[in-house]
Symmetry: C2
């Protein structure tokens, strides 16, 4: 694209970068490669003026142009030649202090830091608003997928009732390989580690903590409430067996690690992360490998889904760059995007949430057992949608597989306690939630 | 959400509505139902002050609150008590004149009019820019799916190379029913008409014209070029047979009507709409029924997909409302979103475009025919990816099914002309493009 001669010369906006790892490096390259096109489109010419790194003498692949390298991040957030601060170092400190200083100095901030925003988002958003500057964080929620902006702006008038996300690429890769290649959890995790998708200590991913932090941010924006990662119930994928996956497929489901953020009619909200059986025909079922997707249900708009790469240098840098352009245009125009008011969240307790369940129960293979077991569901107010008996021919035990209608989690727990107490019940092998209507 | 007592009272923005059919009615209801929440979130209180309708005496289901009904749309676009104009009447005139007047009066405009924007978009965007006001059109491209805003803003720095859309719900419904229920084209069309998805004269949908208009708008924003619906090559779905669909499924494909907008390395662009075989594992293959989706390929971000309802009162009104809020916030802040510069498009001729093809050829069932036919592909520079012979046992003819690698369309045309001239070739029954890498 050529610049229009009638347009005024682009205003230069100088970016100060905190961190220059995979994402910071990719961002620096993107700014260098795309700044002419961005200037032609937006009237803003971006340049990276300062970069804070841990070791300024380490050789780098990335061409850092004329940027000043420093090992003192505090000098970047207050520098006169920095107009917009980008934070891609991650973790709570020093990121929190640095961002706070930048906002107080009237500098807009773009952050990819899900951990910080999930724990201290509401406080930082208020600070940004109070100082009339932007705090943007597209890359913190679903990597390269433009989701925060559509949710905040395009859907600003929409009555969003539920957001369901596959927002951890590592676990989606593991579950996909278990499903499509028949690998065990251990094999799939090892391959994810070999590919660099999973850390040596994979707990943050496989335990659902990473998805939980992102879900807290999503719920905050979607419902305009202040909540933190501690408010999210999470279960990981370590208990999902090859057998569960095989049974799920036979019944027409895929097992996915879903983050579910809901708002109920009384305006209470709940956010939870857990392995979930997703019907094959649901759009989330076809989200494979390390891809992410966020599914939104709204009263007027119906169903929406946003799909793409949730991690990686290029996709994450792309999301950061979109925010940097937005903050820069706002800076030049003297405006900023308000996040609105975050009211304290009224959290609905996990025990009161509605869930459909898949349950696999080992029972004695004798007459009357099914009636006994089914009776336990009924007396606890849990309605059975489907039941089948699998395997067990000629054996002394049979395996019963149930799918329930949506029931209160407390009622399902009571059912499980009662079932475990029965002599005819050997063990309860699987308890997995099933995605249903809101 | 309650309003923060520290916040100033919301500024009221008065909406003038042109048209009050399905979308206009749904929008009016949404504004009434959601204005408190919107005020709490954005500081802007929306109200519908004037509505232009064809017949002001017709009884209406929708509660129009205090809005003034008029049969004179020109009075709405210049009224002092209208701050933002919403155009949902469709068609070129009088919409074009009304929008032009509104923009010249300094009023931001939100339009859902794909036909107008596909033919006169560049001229109207320039006018809006010249008068420093917004012209927003989220609903004109993919109904309720937030796509224009993410593409314009979140991806403002991204090097987008290709956009592929399922952007006509009627044809996607018809193809889904042919695929999943085995219906004929005629049966599926009749059901689409019964459900109100298809018009009595379905040409605009099944001929690819509707998708072509939307694709022209998408390509303009994605690549920053000025082009119109006339620049789009389109083929409809009327030639797609039940047999094509069955063969596609057997080979691992779904047939979809795709709009494909591409930019090549020399910055030339091409936009085309045609039935396409989509690999089962591609995210677009699982977009079913009347749903729409837009798939984006960018150098940094990789692959993205945006999925949702492309039509209907609620979804379309939701997209219009998002734009109305955006325009209102900008109005209050004294800013506006620039669309940037649209340079004249350098269009790559259809004959020069790369496409992979699926071809079904009836041939005489005799030795040496395959070599002869394959030789024609080779001498015309078309490389064969796979071939199989189907049916024809004991018959005098055989059916050869080819899938080619990507080849120039001109070379494929030359291949077809030569094949038709051969004595051993009876007929060429199907010529369908296959989705491949860019």
């Amino acid at each position: 694209m050529t610049e229009n001669p009638d347009r005024p010369a682009p205003r230069t906006v100088r970016v100060g970068l905190l961190g220059c790892g995979t994402v910071g490096g990719a961002l620096t390259e993107l700014v260098t490669g795309r700044c002419d096109d961005i200037a032609a489109r937006t009237g803003v010419r971006l340049t990276v003026s300062r970069i804070a790194v841990r070791d300024a003498r380490r050789p780098r692949q990335v061409q850092l142009a004329d940027a000043v390298l420093t090992e003192d991040p505090a000098s970047v957030v207050t520098a006169d030649d920095v107009d917009v601060v980008v934070e891609v170092i991650g973790g709570i400190e020093p990121a929190r202090t640095l961002i706070t200083t930048a906002l107080r100095s009237g500098k807009p901030v773009v952050s990819a830091n899900k951990e910080l925003l999930a724990h201290h988002g509401a406080e930082l958003f208020e600070l940004a608003d109070a100082h009339g500057v932007d705090l943007l964080f597209e890359a913190a929620v679903a990597g390269g997928i433009p989701f925060v902006r559509p949710l905040r702006e395009s859907l600003a008038g929409e009555d969003v009732t539920r957001v369901i996300g596959i927002i951890n690429g590592t676990t989606n890769y593991i579950l996909t390989k278990m499903t499509e290649e028949g690998w065990s959890y251990t094999e799939a995790l090892a391959e994810a580690q070999a590919l660099g998708y999973a850390e040596a200590d994979p707990t943050a991913d496989v335990g659902g903590f990473d998805a939980g932090a992102k879900a807290a941010i999503i719920a905050g924006i979607a419902f305009g409430v202040a909540l933190s990662a501690e408010d999210v119930h999470h279960e990981g994928i370590t208990e999902v067996s090859a057998d569960d996956i095989a049974t799920a497929r036979r019944l027409g489901f895929q097992i996915k690690l879903l983050a579910v953020a809901e708002r109920f009619d009384d305006n209470s909200v709940a956010v939870r992360v857990h392995p979930t059986m997703v019907p094959e025909e649901h759009p989330l079922a076809s989200v494979r490998d390390s891809f992410n997707a966020v599914f939104v249900e709204g009263r007027a708009v119906g169903e929406l889904m946003f799909y793409g790469r949730g991690a990686g240098g290029g996709p994450t840098a792309s999301a950061v760059l979109g925010d940097v352009i937005d903050a820069s245009v706002n800076l030049v125009q003297g405006s900023h995007a308000s996040l609105g008011v975050f009211t304290p969240a009224s959290l609905r307790p996990q025990s009161e949430l509605p869930s459909a369940f898949y349950l696999a129960v080992e029972v004695a293979d004798q007459p009357g057992v099914l009636a006994t077991v089914a009776g336990v569901f009924g007396t606890n107010g849990v309605s059975i949608r489907s039941m089948e008996q699998v395997g067990a021919d000629g054996d002394a035990t049979a395996r019963l597989v149930f799918i329930t209608h949506a029931a209160r989690e407390a009622d399902v727990s009571a059912t499980l306690i009662k079932l475990r107490s029965l002599d005819v019940v050997g063990s309860i092998d699987s308890v997995i939630r099933v995605l249903g209507d809101a």
